[in-house]
């Protein structure tokens, strides 16, 4: 059965079950399919080709409905968060050449001009009061059809689209449902942006098992007072987030088992879970089931998991990333973690060159070079040992440092840029430092500050806000190593003013 049909079965059985709760409003499975039907008709009226559809919106009910409606019409969707800078959105649009653009937010003038042929969606009273519609699933995505394309940081400064099939998503969802979704009327945190792969942990397992998505808005995730107001009056059973988001919550004395007795399960993914965070979480929620999971966007959500226990933390210097899910084999080739099996995505959308570099086959099965260094012990436990390239995870966000560098180098008066991560004793990136080679001399600190400010303003048009370097260091000449390449180690020692 297609994923959409599975979700529709839930709606038929329990139409008035809450599918998604926003801060101000709750929506039912019936309303979800009323919205899906309505949006699907609007798509149908356009007589589009079968290329993917770009969806520009926030994390909310209408955007979720737009994604499902797109799949119902047989298109893959490309989720782009409404907070994405203009020029970056432009890059994604011109790479993807979507059949149409659906928007679920108000647009500024430049975005209106970019999305001239858009279908603007809004919530109407009709959607909210409609009966459960009859739907035809014959055109809906299935099998190897692309389900979604998520654009992620690319080394050239242009984002690349990871193309995930319906069956990739099915194998992930089945695994989640079998291993983690056994809670009746499961209230599941939906914090990750839909434009990130982590969001599918919440979305599809919840939708296919009759769960409720507890949807956090950007206002709530960026304003602690609002965040805790919501968390402290909302029942959540299954927590899904990055470890960084857990770190925020653990700082408040209210984030404990005593205050949240119904919060019984944590699934963490998206970046390395440090021992410190794991220990703190175990202390705050001693009887909850806490899982560390691992997997790149290119392998659909996650492909391994392990339950965090005191013993596990005592026995390991770094928190292990777990055992492979069914359908996946893990291999180590030249120290690199290779993922083989049914979770491996189709490739990078219409980018054969990048696809060929990272995707290959092992014994006829799809395989992916993760770029992660690791090891597998005899019992099958996978351990992560860092990156073999210049990709970092910063606050849970995946960033190619070369993406930032390429976009800085496009700016005037900058000869060369190197961005280096600063890490703490837990292997966690705490800051990004940009080292810039420039002829420019600054009269004083005020002049340098003014220049940095201008540079940041320019840079913010092409890179996501979470990619913005914390600090900019200007040098006349970069230190070089014996091979004539930039000496990154020496560079890391340089602070401002000593060129």
């Amino acid at each position: 059965m297609k994923l959409l049909e599975q979700i529709f079965e839930i709606a038929k059985k329990e139409p008035d079950l809450i599918v998604l709760a926003e801060r101000e409003q709750k929506f039912t499975y019936r309303q979800l399919f009323a919205a899906v039907s309505h949006i699907s008709e609007q798509i149908n009226e356009r007589n589009l080709n079968q290329r993917p559809i770009l969806i520009f919106g926030k994390n909310d009910f209408i955007t979720l409905a737009a994604m499902l409606a797109t799949n119902l019409r047989g298109h893959a969707y490309i989720p782009v968060d409404a907070h994405t800078p203009f020029e970056r959105t432009e890059m994604i649009k011109s790479a993807a050449k979507p059949a149409a653009v659906l928007t679920t937010v108000e647009l500024s003038a430049d975005f209106e001009a970019l999305f001239t042929d858009r279908i603007s969606l809004e919530l109407t009273d009709q959607i909210l009061t409609d009966k459960l519609p009859a739907l035809d699933f014959s055109k809906a995505v299935s099998g190897n059809d692309s389900n979604y394309i998520i654009y992620t940081s690319g080394t050239t400064g242009v984002p690349k689209g990871v193309e995930v099939s319906h069956d990739n998503l099915v194998t992930f969802t089945n695994w989640m449902n079998n291993d983690f979704m056994k809670i009746e009327n499961n209230q599941i945190l939906s914090q990750a942006l839909y434009s990130f792969d982590l969001s599918i942990f919440s979305l599809y397992p919840s939708l296919t098992t009759g769960g409720t998505l507890i949807s956090l808005s950007r206002d709530e995730t960026t304003n602690f007072k609002l965040l805790f107001e919501r968390l402290n009056k909302t029942v959540i059973n299954t927590w899904i987030s990055t470890p960084s988001f857990v770190d925020i919550c653990l700082l408040d004395p209210s984030f404990t088992e005593k205050e949240h007795p119904q919060l019984v399960q944590f699934i963490l993914c998206g970046e390395e879970l440090t021992k410190k965070t794991a220990e703190k979480l175990l202390t705050a929620f001693p009887s909850a089931n806490i899982y560390n999971t691992y997997g790149p966007t290119e392998a659909t959500g996650a492909i391994s998991s392990v339950k965090i226990t005191k013993e596990l933390l005592t026995e390991n210097d770094r928190v292990p990333i777990g055992f492979a899910k069914p359908g996946v084999d893990l291999k180590i080739m030249d120290k690199e973690i290779i993922i083989v099996g049914d979770s491996v995505a189709k490739g990078y959308f219409e980018n054969p060159e990048k696809t060929e570099q990272a995707f290959f086959t092992v014994d006829g099965k799809p395989a992916y070079h993760t770029g992660d260094a690791g090891s597998i012990s005899a019992d099958g436990m996978l351990r992560y040992q860092g990156r073999i390239d210049f990709q970092v995870k910063f606050n849970g966000f995946r960033i190619e440092l070369q993406d930032i560098e390429a976009n800085i180098q496009n700016l005037k008066e900058i000869e060369k840029a190197v961005v280096l991560p600063k890490t703490n004793d837990q292997h966690k990136v705490t800051a990004l430092i940009a080292y810039l080679e420039t002829e420019k001399t600054f009269e004083d600190r005020a002049a340098e500050r003014a220049f940095t400010k201008e540079l940041k303003a320019e840079l913010s048009k092409t890179i996501m806000d979470y990619m913005m370097p914390t600090k900019f260091v200007y040098l006349k000449k970069f230190p070089l190593n014996q091979n004539g390449k930039v000496d990154r180690k020496a560079l890391a020692q340089k602070e401002r003013g000593d060129n």
Binding site: T221, T222, N223, F224, K225, L226, L227, F228, E229, N232, S244, D247, I248, C249, L251, D252, P253, S254, N395, T430, A431, I433, R445, A446, R449, T452, K453, K456, S460, D465, Y466, M468, T470, K471
Partner: protein, 79 residues
């Protein structure tokens, strides 16, 4: 004490841009974000022996260097 607070903001954010205008919105200017705000809380709690639960931190009350200094002062006075 103010100077010490500003030093902490500078360490956490990696920039001293805000010193030109102590009423500049640190979130709008990209000087602070959620994670840096968390680091700031931890540093301030340690330096001044105060408790700053995030649940009490409305962004509007914490978005400039001057406001942060005022909040820390309030907390110290409560002790």
């Amino acid at each position: 004490m103010k100077e010490q607070i500003f030093d902490i903001i500078e360490t956490v954010s990696g920039t001293d841009e805000f010193r030109e205008d102590l009423d500049m919105d640190l979130f709008e200017e990209g000087i602070l974000d959620s994670m840096r705000a968390i680091m700031l809380i931890v540093e301030l709690e340690g330096a001044f022996d105060i408790s700053l639960p995030p649940s009490e931190m409305d962004r509007e009350d914490w978005n400039t260097a001057n406001k942060i200094a005022a909040r820390v002062q309030e907390k110290k006075d409560e002790n």
